[in-house]
C-alpha cells in the first residue's frame, strides 16, 4: 500500500492509500453502528491497521470524524455539480442517491446529521445552500411553481430528504423503501413515489409537469410491481 499507484480509488487530490482506506472504513462503520458507538479499534481492524495508526493520520477520533464529514461534503458537492450539468432532477439528492447506491455514504450522512459537530453543521449548510440554488433553477425552468417562501420551501424540501435519510431504518421497516439504496426494492417504490407525487405534486410542481408525471404512475392503488419510477420527487 504505497505511493500513488493502484487501487481505482482516487476520489479527490489529498487521498492517499492507507489514509483513504482508514477513512472509508470509518465511514462504513460509523454508518452501520453510529459514530459514538464505534471505537477507533474497530475502524483500525476494518482497515487492517493498528489502532495507533489511525490517530497518527487523524489526530484523534474527532479528527477522523471531521475528515469523514469533509470527504462526504466534497463528494456531495461534486455530485451536485454533476447533477446541475446533466439533466434535471427534482431532488437535489437524487443524483447522489443513484451514484452512491450500494455505498455507505448516505447512511453515514444520516448518522452525522444526528450526532452534532461543527463539520456536520457545515455539511448541512452546504446541502441547504445547494438546494436553494437548485430549486431556484427548477423554478426558472418552469418545473416548479413560484413560492412566497422561496428559501423556506427549499429548506423544507432539503429536510424532507434528510429526514427520510435519518430515519431510513424505520422507513424501510415500514414501507420497504430504503432511502440509502432505493433500487434495492423496486417493487415498493411505486407506492412510495405515487404517494409522494400525490402529496407534493399539486403544491410544488407546475401543473404541466404534475400531470405529465401523474400518468406515469397509472398503477393499481396498492398493487404490485407495476409502473416505472422516474427519478422524480423530493425524496
Amino acid at each position: 500500500m504505497r505511493s500513488t499507484s493502484g487501487e481505482p480509488d482516487g476520489r479527490s487530490a489529498d487521498d492517499r492509500t492507507t489514509r483513504a482506506r482508514i477513512r472509508d472504513a470509518a465511514i462504513a462503520r460509523f454508518a452501520r453502528e453510529g459514530i459514538a458507538a464505534t471505537s477507533v479499534r474497530a475502524v483500525a481492524a476494518d482497515a487492517g491497521v493498528a489502532p495507533s495508526h489511525v490517530v497518527h493520520y487523524f489526530r484523534s477520533k474527532a479528527g477522523l470524524r471531521a475528515a469523514c464529514d469533509e470527504h462526504v461534503a466534497a463528494l456531495l458537492r461534486e455530485l451536485q455539480d454533476e447533477a446541475v450539468d446533466a439533466g434535471l432532477q427534482l431532488d437535489p439528492l437524487a443524483g447522489a442517491r443513484r451514484t452512491l447506491s450500494g455505498t455507505p455514504v448516505l447512511a453515514y450522512l444520516a448518522r452525522t446529521l444526528v450526532e452534532p459537530s461543527p463539520e456536520s453543521d457545515a455539511l448541512v449548510d452546504q446541502l441547504v445552500a445547494d438546494s436553494v440554488r437548485y430549486v431556484k433553477g427548477l423554478e426558472a425552468a418552469g418545473l416548479v411553481r413560484a413560492s412566497d417562501h422561496e428559501r423556506m420551501r427549499a429548506v423544507l424540501l432539503t429536510f424532507w430528504s434528510l429526514g427520510s435519510l435519518a430515519l431510513h431504518r424505520q422507513l424501510e421497516r415500514l414501507t420497504g423503501v430504503d432511502m440509502t439504496d432505493p433500487e434495492a426494492h423496486p417493487e415498493a417504490l411505486a407506492d412510495y413515489a405515487g404517494a409522494t407525487l400525490e402529496l407534493f405534486g399539486p403544491g410544488l410542481l407546475t401543473p404541466a409537469l404534475a400531470q405529465r408525471l401523474q400518468h406515469l404512475f397509472a398503477v393499481p392503488p396498492d398493487g404490485g410491481t407495476a409502473g416505472p419510477h422516474p427519478t422524480g420527487e423530493p425524496t
Copy 2:
C-alpha cells in the same frame, strides 16, 4: 417496587417516586446528549441517587432505556386519545407538541428514533398506526382529500413529523423553528407554516380547508412577526 406512597407525580399506575425520578432524569439526559453517550452515573447524579440504585430498579442501562421508551409511548398514546376526543388537528403530533412543550419528551423521541432498539421500533409502529387511523378520520371529516395511497400517505406524514423532530437541532439552526417547542420562537413560525401550507396544502387538504387556512397566512412573504399560527399542518 413497593410502597404506594406519595409525591403528586402519578402518570400511570406503575410509577413510583424514586423510580419515576430516575426515569425522568434519564429521559432528560438521553434527550440532551443521546442515549449511547449518556452514562448510568450521570443519570444517577441527576436523580440524586447512587449509580447502583438505577440498575436496582431497571435491570440494566438497556432496561432503563426500554422503560423510557415505554413511558413515552404511553404518554403519546394518551395524548393521541385526547386529541381525537377534542377538536381536530391536522398533525397527530400537534397535540403532543403543545402539551409536551418545555418537556424533554419530544427531544427524547428524536433520539430514540435514531438509536435502534426493539422498544423504539414498537413506538414508531404505534405512532404510524395512530397516524393512519387519524388521517382516515380527517378524510372522513372532509378535511383532507381522498388518496390512492392511503396508508403510504399517512406513513409519509408521520415521517415528515418525525424527521423534523430527529433533525430539530439543524432545523432550528436554519429556520429558527424548534420542533421540540415551537412556541419558543413564534416569529419564525409564520414563514414556516406558510411554506408548509403552500407545499402540502394543495395535495393534502380539501380545497375548502386549504383556502380557509390560506388567508390566515396573508403575511408579508419573508416578513417578521405577523400572522396567527393555527394548530395546523403535518408538522
